[in-house]
Point group: C2
Chain length 274, copies 2
Amino acid sequence: ARSLTRDSIPRLQDHAPGQRQVLFAACELGVFDLLAEAPEPLGAAAVAARLGTSSHGTELLLDTCVSLKLLQVETKTGKALYQNTELSSTYLVRASPKCQGNMLRYLARTTYLCWGHLTQAVRDGRNQYLEAFGVPSDQLFSAIYRSEDERLQFMRGLQDVWSVSGRPVLGAFDLSPFPLICDVGGCSGALAKECTSLYPACRVAVFDTPEVVQTAEKHFSFPEAARISFCAGGLRRCSMHGVWPKSFLGSAKPEEVSRGHPGLRTPDLSICGH
Amino acid sequence: ARSLTRDSIPRLQDHAPGQRQVLFAACELGVFDLLAEAPEPLGAAAVAARLGTSSHGTELLLDTCVSLKLLQVETKTGKALYQNTELSSTYLVRASPKCQGNMLRYLARTTYLCWGHLTQAVRDGRNQYLEAFGVPSDQLFSAIYRSEDERLQFMRGLQDVWSVSGRPVLGAFDLSPFPLICDVGGCSGALAKECTSLYPACRVAVFDTPEVVQTAEKHFSFPEAARISFCAGGLRRCSMHGVWPKSFLGSAKPEEVSRGHPGLRTPDLSICGH
């Protein structure tokens, strides 16, 4: 074991959950929003006072954010003053169009708890929504969408993801030959928006469950509304074993999607948003 | 924001708790022990059968371990066969003297849950043992040592840490001029063992609470027993604000430690094991 030194140990300790929780906590407490709005860098005491958090805890949090390159610090007359980095300004400030705050909140509140049950998940061969949240999870998306609040939180999270990844994904292949595209399991319509923006000639039909469509229409705005339509479907959605869109695509043909919705002709292309 | 591309996003997603949980789960299920004992590399189905785990879940777990360099895989006649890497053989197999399994279990079961409450901890400025485990935590070590099982688990974890880090720490300075060393808050005596091994002429007095000393004497063996003695003390241990050994060292002088224990003369050096 000559090549293996104590330096290998940190590899085991990489990816500490604590580091990610620091990012989550700073987002949730509004650290990045406060620093974005402040006209100048702030000290830890000022941040704590405005957020109503513990002064010692805030100082530790800010310094850890610095070490994670989420904040930068400068010292003026002996006082540490914090401000956002380019990374946090772009992805962690609520006012930024690329803010990932909703997705991070989802990861912190839901995904983090599920990961805590991984050992049992490997034993059982099934997800642990029952153990983590008390909801049966034979139908994964029923568990994820277990309440209006949870549904909205998840949809906002996906909105964040597509705000950054939608354009590169949709631009990977030239989709301009397809004038009518169906996004199966299209959720909040975030990918549809990116699609109409990238391909000015196309129309997109977003197909999802009635509850999701209702939430999308209620909470999300669609400046391109004329080119994006929602289809609330129930197509075999109750037999959602495994990941929904996969089995959905496996069991549904584009013709079936349009058959249940006479107003919609067979799409030229069906994509799966997840 | 020209310098900031989509490649920056992964930085936000580094340190995914999931990656660490994969390590925890594989340890807890005994994957590395099984592969260490097997005479040859095993397929996922064989691992699942012997561990009594889900075959699909096991396959996913093993492949993720490969991506984290905790396992290596070779394909023979179309079948993937897994074996330990040097890293996992050294630090994750129970039979290895450097195995970190107890510490990892502690991190997975206790620390992981505490990190889940970080936002509230920054609001309150206090640890979250009450929220995570229902135990009051004004005295941190009372919370950590909340039951015999928890105490034992924590002590075994520290044992793991010192089995790797004890020698470099104790060897950083030459302690050979000190024939009697007192390890204040010396827990299981793991550091004392490393000390007597590194400095053959020294004796070590391990000072800790009566409960810890009792657990140490019951569950841990001391081949060098003649040179390691335990002192069960109550010295101001009830005023444990913050991290115990720090305040302990702050309030106690070595003379006081020995005063309460007439058999022990003033140590030549007091160290803090945590």
